[in-house]
């Protein structure tokens, strides 16, 4: 239920304070309410997306492959968070995407099933695949209904009496205990002009679910200037920033008319076919993952080179344009940092530096050449690489990952395998900021899986 700050007489009854109401925060809140436990959800935005809130709070200076327009457009500050605009593409990470995580893909499997069901899919979308062409498997994306947590998908959560939602309120600071083993107090800025101090009691936990930028921003802002910011003793907060490089129309695949990719069974639901390197091809490319969406397009009869290739394939063929969604290497120098100025709550303004590595590009080229060789060797088809689109036309997916990285070593990470900030007994993080590496899969299914796992860990404790 929605509450006003004046209605809250005591913070004592809450078992947790959850910061942010996107897919991550909503999922953690749901785990608590299922056990009849109470939470307070604090959300910067209103019930609907408002431009002035966006303009005041979603300001990020971008350098590198993504500019100052890019990041703010991909961080929605309203009930339901960025799920207000997401496109509903889903796919789990695979085991090879998690080799440097302290959690295994196997441990996440049941949570992925949970996430699939929560987001309205059959859990089989996580495992179904079929042979594509030698060296590449057909692993479609699921593309069903888009769960918007500010709308229908969040209704049951936000209306539940165990969940108190405080809108237009922003957590601007976490205050560590003297010994820095936990959080003793948090500051909430309630628009337009009220600062509220909330003491965190021994039975309470704080969960940051503020998005890939927001989680790092809160930590980076939590310092009085005399000590390192909360969770930042080893200067890891904000580092390893990742996106998913998207290369639209980076190649043409022409295949014989008689060749057909397998269609997933009806239970898969709406799908987007994609070729993904098999493990051997993946290893040969250096371990960075990628997927190649197959979008059927008409052949171009005016293109005489295409016509000659069709002739070579026996005269009857069809064409696909390939859209690549790829992984970028986790690099500590890609990072968000505080810069001069604050948002209205007092949180520091951020600069995001994000630059793809030359090897990220090389891997994609490697895959396209390998795919071309594979289909030519089998005489199934031919691949034409569109160099321009690969090197001058890259964009992202609105996926902000890695800024509060999960790992077992505090020197190279911010949270442990339970998503707890290293050293802080009562501070946890939900969201793609904990991803150790990003894979190529859209992040929300993994966000929901990890948040459900965290919710179980916290909600099941008492």
């Amino acid at each position: 239920m929605f509450v006003k700050i004046q209605d809250i007489t005591s913070f004592e009854p809450y078992d947790a304070v959850i910061i942010g109401s996107g897919p991550a925060g909503a999922t953690v809140a749901q785990s608590f309410l299922r056990r009849g436990r109470k939470v307070l959800v604090v959300e910067t935005g209103s019930a609907t997306v408002e431009t002035d809130v966006q303009d005041s709070y979603s300001v990020i200076h971008g350098q590198g492959h993504f500019d100052s327009n890019y990041w703010p457009q991909h961080w929605i500050r309203a009930l339901g968070g960025t799920s207000a605009v997401w496109a509903g593409w889903m796919k789990p990470l695979s085991a090879r995407n998690m080799v440097s995580w302290p959690v295994t893909r196997g441990e996440l499997a049941p949570w992925y099933d949970h996430a699939a069901v929560t987001l309205g899919r059959d859990p089989m979308i996580s495992t179904w695949q079929s042979a594509g062409v030698p060296g590449f498997d057909l692993k479609p994306f699921s593309r069903g209904n888009t769960a918007r947590y500010g709308e229908a998908a969040g209704e049951a959560i936000w209306s539940d009496t165990h969940v108190h939602v405080l809108l237009n309120a922003t957590i601007s600071r976490l205050h560590p205990r003297h010994d820095r083993t936990g959080i003793e107090r948090i500051t909430a800025f309630v628009a337009p002009d009220l600062d509220v101090e909330i003491d965190i009691a021994a039975h309470q936990t704080v969960v940051l679910a503020a998005g890939g930028m927001g989680n790092a921003q809160i930590l980076l802002g939590s310092t009085d200037g005399t000590n390192a910011a909360v969770g930042n003793d080893t200067d890891q907060v904000g580092r390893y920033l990742m996106e998913h490089p998207h290369f639209y129309e980076c190649a043409t695949l022409i295949v014989k008319e008689s060749f057909a990719f397998t269609t997933p069974p009806p239970s898969f639901g709406r799908f987007v076919p994609a070729l993904v390197p098999d493990d051997a091809t993946h290893a040969a490319a250096g371990g960075v993952d990628a997927s190649f969406e197959l979008a059927e397009i008409p052949l171009t009869p005016e293109d005489d080179l295409q016509s000659l290739i069709v002739e070579r394939l026996g005269g009857q063929a069809k064409a696909y344009v390939l859209n690549a969604r790829t992984e970028m290497r986790a690099d500590p120098s890609n990072r968000v940092e505080r810069i001069f100025g604050t948002d209205p709550s007092g949180l520091p303004r951020l600069r995001a530096t994000c630059i793809f590595n030359a090897d990220d590009y090389r891997s994609v080229l490697h895959y396209l050449n390998a795919l071309g060789k594979s289909v030519a060797d089998q005489d199934i088809g031919r691949v034409g690489i569109i160099n321009d689109h690969l090197f001058s036309n890259v964009t992202g997916g609105g996926h902000t990952m890695g800024t509060t990285r999960m790992g077992s070593d505090p020197k190279t990470s911010v949270v442990d395998k339970d998503c707890r900030v290293h050293g802080y007994s009562n501070l946890f993080i939900a969201g793609s900021s904990v991803f150790t590496t990003g894979g190529y899969s859209n992040p929300t299914m993994t966000i929901v899986a990890l948040a459900a796992r965290l919710g179980e860990f916290l909600g099941g404790k008492a």
Binding site: E249, T252, T300, D304, R312, V321, V375, I386
Partner: protein, 149 residues
């Protein structure tokens, strides 16, 4: 569609202004780029032969058709004045002009005047030339020339 149509078919627009400028004036027949609109999408540029991952057999087949077409280098929007005119003829298109050159052992270059030429008497005219290293290449949108490299 015969081999010649395939190789010459798209020529008129294939070596378009932006591409010709971007790639220099010379452009091998078999290295054309064509612009194709895929339905409702951005323009897809299917670029030169080298961008395709091909088999050796593909290359032999394609090179063979390029050979038969004559190893002429295309010079779009270029006139070759004073390059040793052997003769001239009235033709229907650039392909016919190139064919006359190919069929003539003494021909090392040709120039075709587009139907858009301002002088009526020059429209669709084809000059067969003997000079393989022409004294000058004059950029003029009313002409297409060809040259043995």
């Amino acid at each position: 569609m015969n081999r010649r149509d395939v190789l010459f078919g798209a020529l008129g627009f294939a070596v378009g202004g932006a591409l010709a400028a971007g790639t220099g004036l010379g452009y091998m027949f078999y290295r054309r780029a064509t612009l194709a609109k895929a339905k409702g999408r951005r323009t897809v540029v299917s670029d030169s032969l080298d961008d395709w991952v091909l088999t050796d057999a593909d290359r032999t087949a394609l090179a063979h058709s390029a050979d038969q077409a004559g190893p002429l280098m295309m010079l779009n929007n270029v006139d070759l004045p004073g390059a040793g005119d052997i003769r001239s003829a009235q033709v229907t298109d650039v392909a016919e002009c190139a064919a006359l050159c190919e069929a003539d052992a003494n021909c090392n270059a040709f120039t075709f005047a587009r139907p858009s030429h301002p002088k009526v008497e020059k429209r669709n005219k084809c000059w067969i030339k003997s000079d393989q290293t022409p004294p000058k290449k004059v950029v003029d949108i009313h002409y297409i020339s060809g040259l043995r490299p």
